[in-house]
């Protein structure tokens, strides 16, 4: 097959992927009080990786991101469950969350919540599951 000339697409992707990844981190971190959170942050991350897959093909991306996404989904679910169990250890119900106000040097008084750990698990599960689905759908012809 003739190699296509997609210089514009590759150059635009170099800028767009960085923007989408930064936006996904912003969505993930704004989850506690504003719209956002683990699920939608993970989906924005998946959008960036899918853009990379579209532009560069499966082999190149899997060589540069050597991660088995099924394992990522499993690790995410395990993290979420164990943060839920962590509430049970101190005598509270399952999925009980705690937060502390911490004085960080640059940000001032910041709220540190254990719900962020739960959100990390949700984000990893969403990333692994969606990328596994997309890659396995695109495999068969």
């Amino acid at each position: 097959m003739k190699e296509p000339n997609d210089v514009i697409l590759k150059t635009a992707t170099k800028a767009a992927v960085v923007i989408i990844l930064a936006f996904s981190i912003h969505l993930f971190l704004s989850g506690h009080h504003n719209p956002g959170g683990g699920f939608i942050g993970g989906l924005a991350f998946v959008a960036a990786v899918v853009l990379l897959y579209l532009v560069h093909g499966i082999e190149k991306v899997q060589k540069n991101i050597p991660v088995d996404f099924k394992k990522v989904a499993g690790i995410g679910v395990l993290i979420s469950v164990f943060t839920g169990v962590g509430g049970m250890i101190s005598g509270n119900p399952f999925l009980n969350q705690a937060f502390w106000m911490v004085d960080l040097p640059l940000f001032g008084k910041t709220e540190m919540a254990t719900a962020v750990l739960f959100d990390v698990g949700v984000a990893l599960a969403v990333i692994g599951a969606s990328l596994t689905i997309i890659i396995s759908i695109s495999d068969d012809r």
Binding site: P4, L9, F23, L27, A47, V50, L54, G57
Partner: protein, 94 residues
């Protein structure tokens, strides 16, 4: 007066969205449908932007950014499908 202008522009945007949906349904080939989907994304972004001016709120700006990203990726995927017949390609096959 500015409210009237904004609602008038929203009215015209909705009218153009309806005409684009007509092209999306009727459009004879796949290329017209892809073009219509891209334009539909842009007009929906414009609708959300005008609506957030009406409400004097910045809460919808993330929606605009996310919609732009997803519309971009969807257009690239559909264009890739038209050109090659495959969305995500492997190198050693073919």
């Amino acid at each position: 007066m500015i409210e009237g202008i904004l609602f008038f522009s929203l009215l015209f945007l909705i009218f153009s969205v309806l005409t684009i949906i007509y092209r999306l349904v009727v459009g004879p080939t796949v290329s017209e449908r892809v073009q219509a989907l891209d334009a539909l994304g842009i007009y929906l972004i414009a609708c959300v932007a005008v609506f957030s001016v009406v409400l004097r709120s910045t809460a919808f700006f993330e929606v605009i950014l996310l919609f732009g990203i997803l519309s971009f990726i969807g257009t690239i995927a559909l264009a890739r499908y038209i050109e090659r017949g495959v969305v995500i390609e492997r190198q050693q096959s073919d």
